[in-house]
């Protein structure tokens, strides 16, 4: 039982931290520039492809990860300068249409370059197996690679916290999220700030995509499902708030993991078998959306609104 609870808690943490890497960039772009970026998931996908391709060329996962993240950051820079800059002043509808178009382009470009089949690549050999921890009631096993993901996720979260909460740039970012006009009036180069935030968000996307690549699969369309989850996270956490994104990610990660693990068994114990077989997976899938609707009902600005 200890093993099960501990394992599921770690699974929730791992999932949540990866969501955080995606949500962090999204919430800042959203909060500061007031820009809906549906193509954020595409950056995740393209980043994962960059990492997979670079890892194959370099024959080293870690070199590939570094190169892929750098490549995605560069792509983010190009996109920001050429397109997103023109979108900030437009209404949400125009942003939805433009970034939806970007999704189409990104998916098709990836398909044209890397082919329609998914790329499966493996984590570094040393991390392919489980790690064993001695516990009072027998050993506890956990996949080594997932532990690495958790470690990287925690490190990035800590770094981001220091950057946003303690540094001067972070102060500008927070000021920008709270009141853009006022920040501009104070003479801060908002344009450069926007570019920096966007590029940073793209790099975080690629980091998540690259780390998850060996665990999941690198394929066309992988960004769309994860994009929705990232949106749920930032709505729960409050748009523009890094702290909200972290809390929201961990909530969504844990709720989703526990829902999948516990709900079917719980329903089987209480409902007729047939109803439970239908309801279990359905409820497990919609749990986070119910959660979001509930939170919005009671706190329409999310848990940690950036604009107080």
């Amino acid at each position: 039982m200890t093993q099960l609870i501990l394992e599921q808690a770690l699974n929730g943490l791992q999932f949540g931290l990866m969501l955080f890497l995606l949500a962090a960039g999204l919430t800042l772009v959203f909060g500061i520039m007031d820009c809906i970026n549906l193509a954020h998931g595409s950056l995740y996908m393209v980043g994962a492809y960059f990492v997979a391709a670079a890892a194959q060329v370099a024959d080293s996962f870690w070199v590939g990860l570094g190169a892929g993240v750098a490549g995605a950051a560069l792509l983010g820079l190009l996109l920001e300068v050429s397109l997103f800059r023109r979108l900030y002043q437009r209404d949400h509808l125009a942003q939805v249409l433009a970034t939806f178009a970007l999704i189409l382009i990104a998916n098709e470009a990836v398909r044209a370059i890397w082919g329609p089949a998914a790329i499966m690549f493996n984590p570094p050999e040393a991390l392919a197996g489980p790690v064993e921890f001695p516990l009072p009631h027998g050993a506890f096993f956990y996949p080594a690679y997932r532990l690495v993901i958790i470690a990287v996720g925690l490190a990035v979260a800590a770094l981001l916290y220091l950057l946003v909460a303690r540094s001067r740039v972070g102060m500008w970012v927070r000021a920008g999220a709270a009141n853009r006009e006022m920040t501009e009036a104070l003479g801060i180069n908002v344009r450069a700030l926007f570019t920096a935030v966007f590029v940073f968000g793209a790099a975080l996307c690629a980091l998540a995509g690259g780390l998850l690549g060996p665990l999941l699969a690198v394929q066309v369309g992988m960004g769309e499902s994860v994009l929705i989850l990232a949106f749920v996270v930032i709505i729960i956490g409050g748009i523009g708030s890094i702290r909200g994104a972290l809390v929201g990610s961990l909530i969504v990660g844990t709720v989703d993991t526990l829902g999948r693990a516990l709900l079917p068994a719980l329903l089987r114990a209480t409902l007729p078998a047939d109803a439970a077989a239908t309801l279990g997976p359905a409820l497990a899938s919609i749990l986070i959306y119910l959660l979001m609707a509930g939170i919005l009902f009671f706190r329409p600005q999310g848990l940690f609104p950036a604009r107080a």
């Binding site: 433009a98 470009a109 044209a112």
Partner: protein
């Protein structure tokens, strides 16, 4: 954005278009291109769905990213009716409208308490819930979707022939557009558009803003349900793919291309998008790239949609 008022050329143009459409199946049959009757029906059905979203988005100013839920519920209701032995569209289609409309009423009554981005996301959340519900519902085919055994009958006439379904879809679209056109100029529509322009002022003037919006939202949902029921008849399947959020995105894109708040915006958008798809597929396997670039071009250079290029007057 100003209030909707039909341009002077609109009525003759509409009549000419209608005549051309009525003659279309016979013309295609004469040319031996029956395949395109099915394609044209698809365009009409998506035009209906996009027009219903345009009522919500264009006239009501509510950016909903969950419209696919109502579209899909309509399709499923039709399929479930048939599964229950009801093969008459005169019953099944209103049932689809009622189911989708009632669900829209529920979604609207919760979502319309939020504003802006939060509204976009909460409508999306509801649509995702519906998606996962149908994917998991074993009785309704789960992930496989619910197939129809064959097309339904409408007032006793079979819709099995491609032309029959074409005319049924054309009739539905014509009726919906007539109704929306009337509505937009009636007291209800003018109030709705005034709320879109300045919600606070309308509230201060004592208008029940929430109720107006809710009615428009539910009406849009019901018409989307009708489109869904027609589509289920066309494809012979109520599929969970209809409920995916990208489907909501596609409908949104159709409205934006065609022109938000233009009466024929949904029609133009559906025709342009599906037509482009049909043409581009013939040229390149990677037609999505071309489509994406075109959409970007529209955002950057024709912000009011394609319909605006033809100068539909707004006020």
């Amino acid at each position: 954005m100003a209030f909707y008022r039909p341009a002077r050329w609109q009525r003759p143009a509409t009549l000419a278009g209608l005549v051309a459409l009525v003659a279309l199946p016979a013309a295609l049959t004469a040319l031996g291109q029956e395949f395109y009757i099915g394609f044209a029906t698809r365009v009409l059905i998506f035009a209906l769905a996009a027009s219903s979203l345009n009522l919500v988005l264009g006239f009501g100013g509510m950016v909903s990213l969950g419209h696919a839920a109502f579209f899909g519920i309509g399709a499923y209701t039709a399929a479930i009716c048939q599964q229950a032995g009801i093969n008459e569209a005169l019953f099944a289609f209103p049932a689809a409208m009622a189911a989708a409309g009632l669900f829209a009423l529920l979604v609207g009554s919760v979502s319309l308490r939020t504003r802006g981005v939060y509204f976009i996301m909460i409508t999306l959340a509801f649509a995702q819930m519906v998606f996962y519900l149908f994917v998991s519902a074993r009785a309704w085919g789960g992930d496989d979707g619910l197939p129809l055994a064959g097309r339904m009958t409408l007032a006793g006439f079979s819709l099995a022939g491609d032309s029959a379904l074409f005319f049924a879809s054309l009739a539905a679209l014509t009726a919906a557009l007539l109704a929306f056109g009337r509505l937009a100029q009636a007291r209800f529509g003018r109030t709705l558009q005034a709320i879109r322009e300045n919600e606070t002022r309308m509230e201060a003037l004592g208008y029940p803003v929430f109720r107006y919006r809710l009615v428009a939202f539910a009406l849009g949902g019901a018409v989307a349900g009708l489109a869904g029921a027609l589509l289920a008849n066309l494809t012979g399947l109520a599929s969970p793919n209809l409920l995916q959020w990208t489907q909501s995105g596609t409908l949104l894109v159709m409205v934006i291309i065609g022109g938000v708040g233009a009466l024929y915006g949904g029609v133009v958008g559906a025709a342009v998008l599906l037509g482009l798809e049909e043409v581009l597929v013939g040229f390149t396997e990677h037609w999505h790239i071309v489509l994406g670039l075109l959409l970007l071009g529209i955002v950057l250079f024709a912000p009011r949609g394609v319909a605006a290029l033809f100068g539909e007057r707004r006020g």
